[in-house]
Amino acid sequence: MSDPHPPYLHPAYQSTALRAPSQPLIMPAYGPDAVELSSPVFGHAELGTLDNDLTRQHRGEPLGERIVVTGRVLDASGRPVPNTLVEVWQANAAGRYIHARDQHPAPLDPNFTGAGRCLTDDEGRYRFVTIKPGAYPWRNHHNAWRPAHIHFSVFGTAFTQRLVTQMYFPGDPLFAFDPIFGSIADEKAKERLISRLDMDTTVPEWALGYQWDIVLGATPTEDS
């Protein structure tokens, strides 16, 4: 199976130039060990009950298009991964992060922070209520714009499976111009980062629904 992940060095994404390791990665003798093949355990009591609803973290409702984003976290064999921590963060509807270093001159929304988290249920399912993020400019090259995306961080059952990625929205016209999305060589692998509009997830009169499953990698031991 070909590596679905982008390379470290992708010159079109300029920040990789001085941050990509230049030496080959080394496989530890006998592969990953018991620590690397296990993962921290998180408990429901550690999370707030509204942590997965990004539209209810302030006094008022955020501006923008309310959406539901849901899907399952699966292992390399397609088995659900229950009780694993899923964290998300994103720009607001205007394409602005609340982060202090985001200098994009678009309005902040006093009712939107843009960060959430949840544990997957027994079927590996996560669910967030949020606002559809806006596209935003960045300084990678002249007239550079990121397609709308939600950042995801997922743990899984092994530290070696730890995944941080970005979920995109179907049909985004910026895909062809984005060197981060474009860092993935395989077209089929790219498609796995794009959510699907789902009318069964959509809540009538309230919010469009998007489905997006996350499939974690096999560990070297599982591959062999």
Binding site: E46, A100, H151
Partner: protein, 174 residues
Amino acid sequence: MTTPSQTVGPFFGYALPYGDGPRVVPEWRPDAIRIHGTVFDGAGEPLPDALLEIWQAGPDGEVPRAVGALARDGHDFAGFGRCGTDAAGHYWFSTLKPGGPTPYIALLVFARGLLKPVITRIYFPGEPGNAGDPVLAGVPAERRDTLVAVREHDRSYRFDVHLQGGQETVFFAV
């Protein structure tokens, strides 16, 4: 069918780090150790926007199964820590030294410009098991030191991460 990785980007700072993230155990515990260091790029510049995560065995050498990494109670050892680098590229953790003959701490580094994380191991200096450790032995001798923390004083260790260049840290393909 694996979902591909994408960079953590520059704007995770309000979302992923959390109050007690670096504090796997409180600093006041007599058995607490401090692991800290700086993350550098290939030009030797520190990274002010890296995120580091550690995961490790407890002093008994066993993989922790206790919850409580997000909401620390100061007693149970959950084994997981997270720290974003500061403006000078510096990170720190307060934790316990793992047990076993060749103790190490697993370390993941995420950053803008890293399209996928790097994973490495923080070994401890002066451990009798290091000399015979097959993982350390499998690393070219001239790069082996990049995996071993530097003892500063009794309970403090420094472990710098060089993403690229002459002092590049050994990263693993796991």
